[in-house]
Amino acid sequence: MIFRSEASRGYTLSAPATAYVGFLVAAPLVILVAYSFWTQSYVTLDKTPTLKNYRDAFADPLVRHLMLRSIWIAGAVTAVTVALAYPIAYFIAMKARKKTIWLLLITIPFWSSYLLRVFAWKLILGFNGVMNSALLMLGLIDEPLDFLLYNEFAVVLTLAHAWAPFAILPIYVSLQKIDPSLLEAATDLGNGPIRRFMRVTLPLTIPGIIAACLIIFIPTVGDYVTPALVGGSDGKMIANLIQVQFGAANNWPLGATLSLIAMLSVGFVAIVFVLTATRLGRRIK
């Protein structure tokens, strides 16, 4: 084994993982694509290839609407989560003495069940919830606020909570990688803390920010549980429609078509985002 070339050792060792992931990514994709050309009526699957599903999906303004809303909500979730997470990642990487303790502190809440956490948010945001009770008690409001729950705001807040560690960790890692002497050099060259942050820290953490954004944005577009639980009457997203096709409607071909459209749209948005962010980063001098 010592003697085989480095490359072949690399292939051998990484093969199980890459083959596994590759297979589980590729095979379902092939099946999804196949399904998207078939049709279903009631309980029978018609395997005659057709573009009907695509035609229907593209013709339907609902699909477009839900897709755009999903991207908008996922974008908002991503922006809010990352914006809230950046300072805390910065704090842990640059200021905190006991970094590991802080990292632990931000992970512990995620060792309870996700569904229960979503549930807990309803307790806080609900009509008789903690937030309203507190505001009422403080005399800040007379009537419970009803715009806290069952809307896009609630979805964004709940997901910003759920994805917190996934935003904090990549940003933390990229901050951690910054050579402190770069920051000292910026100070030495006359920058105060804010200009130094804008000109050195921020540009150098763009890869971390991009990673955090992708890790949050892409799965969020496909989330259907959170919108169903806290989204209210207008928090529905594309994944709910997909879920209906695989469930109640029992129309897998349409579900597969919608999945593929969603993946392509998300991929497109992600690529545009990465390119823009990278370019923006380069513009800073």
């Binding site: 009509f127 008789n128 009457s233």
Partner: protein, 331 residues
């Protein structure tokens, strides 16, 4: 042992009070349960190859399940309690198809308008209230097309044609759902969500199962279900079907079916769950005060006067599903 038998069920139905005699026979061992949250979920899983001995859908699903070749007919002669099953339930559409019995009814109940009695008086309450701008943000409707369409069919006076709405009727019914959409706080997908919101006062009325009414009452929330058949209420019946994927010996399957339909089980579910049972004898042995309080002293009136959840025809079902998605999205 008893656990060899697997049941695919709504969660909660693994209550040992439902099948005491089965446990006696099988060494005090309960069947194994696995759960679904909705019939659609159950159908998806079963048609994906999920295997079990028995499943617990409601009557409206049976036709589709048969068409998808998921279930096998039951042998009436082996069902010891078949004779005692309420005659109204035996009549329910799709329980018997092509002369073959496919579902053994177990429990039944209502889907109706539940409201906070402290906020709305019993005289004022009506389905049309759902569209009243005064209740903006105060109502909840199930996130299920068939149930929402039943509600709207009742509200628009199209209840009799619920399973076979004409195009105009369909439009009228859909428009009602559209008109209440602005008032909807959320389309509930789990009963707990509905119960929580009613408890907190977040919503004041909504379309839900009688299970919710009872849960609210037990938790001392002032709430009730509107049971006036003239104002509109729906009825459903659910039961057990024998899955084709069943592998456990048939006798054991029937032992559980018989235990479930035993009057003792019926008494238990009526007294402890507040649900009506399918066995007529159960009503005799159960606490009459409960029967009165939970509002099913007169089963006949429900089966005759209310909208019964039968399967809508497949074409209409697809239309409902698609249209409901649009309505929810504000289209």
């Amino acid at each position: 042992g008893g656990a060899d038998l697997t049941v695919f069920d709504w969660s909660g139905y693994e209550d040992p009070g439902f099948f005491a005699s089965y446990m006696e026979k099988y060494g005090n061992e309960a069947p194994s349960y696995s759960y679904f949250g909705s019939q659609e979920e159950a159908f998806t899983k079963l048609s994906s190859g999920f295997a079990a001995d028995l499943a617990h859908p409601c009557s409206d699903a049976v036709r589709k399940w048969v068409a998808a070749d998921l279930i096998q007919p039951l042998d009436e002669s082996k069902l010891t309690n078949w004779a005692d099953v309420l005659p109204e339930i035996k009549e329910v559409d799709a329980i018997v198809l092509d002369g073959q019995l496919y579902m053994l009814p177990f429990e039944w109940g209502n889907t109706g308008l539940i409201y906070r009695t402290d906020k709305i008086s019993g005289d004022d309450v009506s389905l049309q209230l759902l569209a009243d701008p005064a209740y903006a943000g105060k109502i909840a409707v199930p996130d299920a097309a068939s149930s929402a369409y039943a509600l709207a069919a009742l509200a628009t006076g199209n209840a009799d044609d619920y399973t076979n709405l004409s195009d105009e009727q369909f439009k009228e019914v859909s428009d009602f759902l559209r008109s209440i959409h602005p008032n909807v706080r959320f389309y509930w997908s789990d009963a707990g969500q509905f119960d929580q919101a009613m408890t907190s006062g977040e919503i004041e009325l909504g379309w839900a199962w009688n299970q919710s009414e009872l849960n609210l009452i037990w938790n001392e929330v002032p709430a009730a279900m509107m049971r006036d058949v003239d104002k509109g209420i729906a009825t459903w019946a659910c039961g057990y079907v024998h899955l084709k994927s069943s592998t456990t010996p048939v006798d054991q399957v029937y032992d559980l079916l018989n235990a479930l339909t035993d009057p003792a089980s019926g008494q238990y579910i009526i007294d402890n769950w507040g649900y009506p049972h399918s066995n007529a004898k159960a009503f005799e042995v159960a606490d009459q005060a409960n029967i009165e309080a939970y509002g099913f002293a007169d089963p006949k009136s429900f089966f005759e006067g209310s909208l019964f959840f039968d399967a809508v025809n497949p074409g209409l079902e697809a239309k409902m599903l698609a249209e409901f998605e649009r309505i929810k999205a504000g289209f």
